[in-house]
């Protein structure tokens, strides 16, 4: 049973990690290409989840909901980029933090206005209900496995997009030298809008996918946003590879810490204290990992641009 528990929790950790990657990819892309720190990324995750839940309940199709949710997040992302974000690229991080903090207030309240205060529920599609047996007994939900697969497929797609396509070439060029590619006739502001919308779509899809595991509610993006920041700081801001490694690391540390730390402390402390110390250390564990990584490598594990 312990083996089954371990496998189950490892899978949970990977699933959280894959989810975080979808969030972190957008953040790190926007930072790497535009040098912008976007606190409002979690709002796009929330919008994706809400639109997906409403569309799915209208149409009866989770998949349509997922598609429309991602599309809506991309759309809102594109509009926000054109109206607000593009005025911030030349500003210092302080202005960016404040402006995107203001965007959180606006988007959160806007979502509340449109969709109401009540949490929404999103059902797992019939195709993905049920569980897969685990070695050593017990089962693992198919839906969580599907999230891992979908997330990895999107990660691969993102890699191919950036490494192999013309758009990806322009994105990479935009990271290196903005003036030069503008001089070569690339519409840089359109490119930036596309990159921002792409990151927003990934966040929206992540929100929609997670929406079927938890309830869809106002403010759901913020805890995830903080985790995603931890991920990209650990990985090295601007590095997609770093985001992937950081995501899985944070997912595993967080999940396994919560499950096993209280038990570990029971070996050395009385039970009541062990639970308190273990669970408090578990909630802090990823921040401890982040602090340790930054003390060891102040630029993260995979520093961008050398």
């Amino acid at each position: 049973m312990t083996v089954a528990l371990l496998i189950e929790q490892m899978l949970n950790g990977v699933q959280l990690g894959v989810m975080l990657f979808l969030m972190a990819a957008g953040l790190t892309l926007v930072f790497g290409v535009m040098g912008l720190i976007n606190l409002a990324h979690g709002s796009l995750y929330m919008i994706g989840a809400f639109v997906c839940a409403v569309t799915a309940s209208w149409s009866g199709s989770f998949w349509l909901g997922l598609f429309v949710g991602g599309l809506a997040a991309a759309g809102v992302g594109a509009v926000v980029e054109m109206v607000v974000i593009r005025r911030l690229y030349d500003r210092d991080h302080l202005d960016q933090v404040l402006a995107t903090f203001a965007l959180i207030l606006i988007l959160t309240e806007g979502t509340r206005w449109v969709f109401g205060d009540q949490p929404l529920w999103l059902d797992i599609p019939a195709l993905l209900s049920g569980a897969v047996p685990l070695p050593g007994g017990g089962g693992y939900p198919v839906y969580r496995l599907a999230i891992i697969v979908i997330g990895l497929a999107l990660a691969l797609g993102l890699y191919l997009l950036i490494a192999k396509t013309r758009l990806g070439m322009r994105i990479r060029a935009g990271e290196s030298d903005r003036e030069m590619i503008a001089a070569l006739g690339v519409d840089i502001s359109l490119l930036y809008t596309v990159v921002f919308a792409l990151g927003a779509a990934l966040a929206g899809i992540a929100g929609a996918l997670v929406g079927a595991l938890q309830s869809v509610q106002i403010g759901m993006g913020e805890p995830v946003l903080i985790l995603a920041f931890v991920v990209i700081v650990i990985g090295g801001i601007g590095s997609i590879k770093g985001a992937l490694v950081g995501s899985v690391l944070v997912g595993l540390v967080d999940t396994l810490g919560r499950v096993f730390l209280p038990g570990l402390f029971k070996l050395i402390l009385p039970a009541s204290q062990a639970t308190a110390v273990g669970s408090s250390l578990a909630s802090m564990s990823i921040y401890l990992v982040m602090a340790l990584v930054l003390i060891w490598r102040p630029q993260g594990l995979f520093p961008h641009h050398g």
């Binding site: 930072f31 720190i37 606190l39 607000v84 005025r87 911030l88 500003r91 991080h93 302080l94 202005d95 933090v97 404040l98 402006a99 903090f101 203001a102 965007l103 959180i104 207030l105 606006i106 959160t108 309240e109 806007g110 509340r112 206005w113 903080i226 920041f229 931890v230 700081v233 801001i237 308190a276 669970s279 408090s280 909630s283 802090m284 921040y287 401890l288 982040m290 602090a291 930054l294 003390i295 102040p298 630029q299 993260g300």
Partner: protein, 330 residues
């Protein structure tokens, strides 16, 4: 130039006088609510003055000042909690009992904030830029989760302060008296900021912001300068936290949340980064906007967001900058 300086001095004087006048008049008119609102402005402004020292002078964009604000608050809450229960705070290595005496609580709050800032700063100052923003956030999150997971002090629910802490010779329950304490603390905080800004240390701190290499070339190691600045900044914010706990009669994890860090940063940027009275103007506008827009509509966050966005996009230099002109070193 001299003209602008005069305008800013005038603005500062107007801010300081109106902040004092409003509660005095409010109490005369038997409207203590507005006096409490003014206490809130004074306290939050003090937290902002602390952060402004780090950001405005030192260029240290801390996204974790809620940690110090909350620690100050928890010192007040925990001391009062033990005093009321007649249980000791610590039994080992020395026995420390609770207290309801504000001066004692303040000293402890200052010491704890300083200690926390020394540790957090020592690690965080190894990084710069976005990394510094994020690592200070991470440390604040650690403190936040620590507070949540200590059931003895209320955990997620927080800790009520049933009886407001006392100040020898004063009735702290009197609205105006309590306001004057907060106002005095703010005035002292502003004095500290000003004194540092015009001192040799302040010049070194500013140089650490503008050009670290040049500071090092001048024979001053940047790290101790920045760390000292960070600690002083945290101490002022921690003091504000202790007062805030007594104003609300409550301390909880929300004082430590990253939203709070964002808010304190808003006071600074809204008012004007690096301007002596920037945080006062910022906190006043924020609290007033929250109160008045909140009275008009439930959607006040939307309008507050639009207001903030407007200031960032169109009024660079914040309110003080808008009224008194850009700062000399902008």
């Amino acid at each position: 130039m001299a003209d602008r300086m005069t305008r800013e001095t005038w603005l500062n004087a107007v801010l300081m006088v109106s902040l004092l006048a409003v509660p005095v008049i409010a109490v005369q008119l038997d409207e203590p609510f507005y006096a409490n609102l003014a206490s809130r402005v004074a306290i939050l402004a003090l937290a902002g003055v602390g952060l402004n020292l780090a950001i405005g002078l030192g260029g240290l964009v801390s996204f974790g000042h809620a940690a110090f604000f909350g620690l100050g608050g928890y010192v007040a809450g925990i001391a009062a909690f033990h005093a009321l229960n007649y249980t000791p705070v610590l039994t080992w290595p020395v026995e420390i009992s609770g207290t309801t005496s504000m001066p004692v609580i303040w000293l402890v709050a200052l010491a704890i904030s300083a200690l926390a800032a020394l540790v957090i700063g020592a690690f965080s100052l190894r990084t710069t830029g976005v990394y510094f923003i994020m690592i200070t956030l991470a440390f604040a999150q650690m403190v936040y989760f620590m507070a949540i997971s200590i059931p003895a002090y209320g955990g997620e629910d927080g800790l009520p302060i049933y009886v407001r802490n006392t100040f020898p010779g004063l009735d702290t329950y009197d609205t105006l008296t309590f306001f004057l304490l907060c106002y005095g603390a703010l005035a002292l905080g502003l004095l500290v900021y000003w004194r540092i800004a015009v001192s040799r240390f302040g010049a070194a701190l500013s140089m650490a912001r503008m050009n670290e290499t040049r500071l090092a070339t001048a024979g001053i190691a940047p790290f101790p300068v920045k760390l000292t600045g960070f600690v002083i900044s945290a101490v002022l914010t921690g003091m504000a936290g202790a007062l805030y706990a007594d104003l609300n009669g409550f301390v909880g994890p929300s004082m430590l949340s990253w939203h709070r860090s964002g808010e304190i940063m808003i006071f600074v940027i809204l008012g004007g980064v690096g301007r002596l009275f920037g945080p006062v103007a910022g906190a006043a506008l924020f609290v007033l906007a929250e109160f008045f827009i909140g009275g008009l509509t439930d959607r006040w966050q939307l309008f507050l967001g639009l207001l903030l966005l407007g200031v960032v996009l169109f009024a660079r230099g914040g309110l003080v900058g808008l009224i008194a002109g850009r700062a000399r070193h902008d």
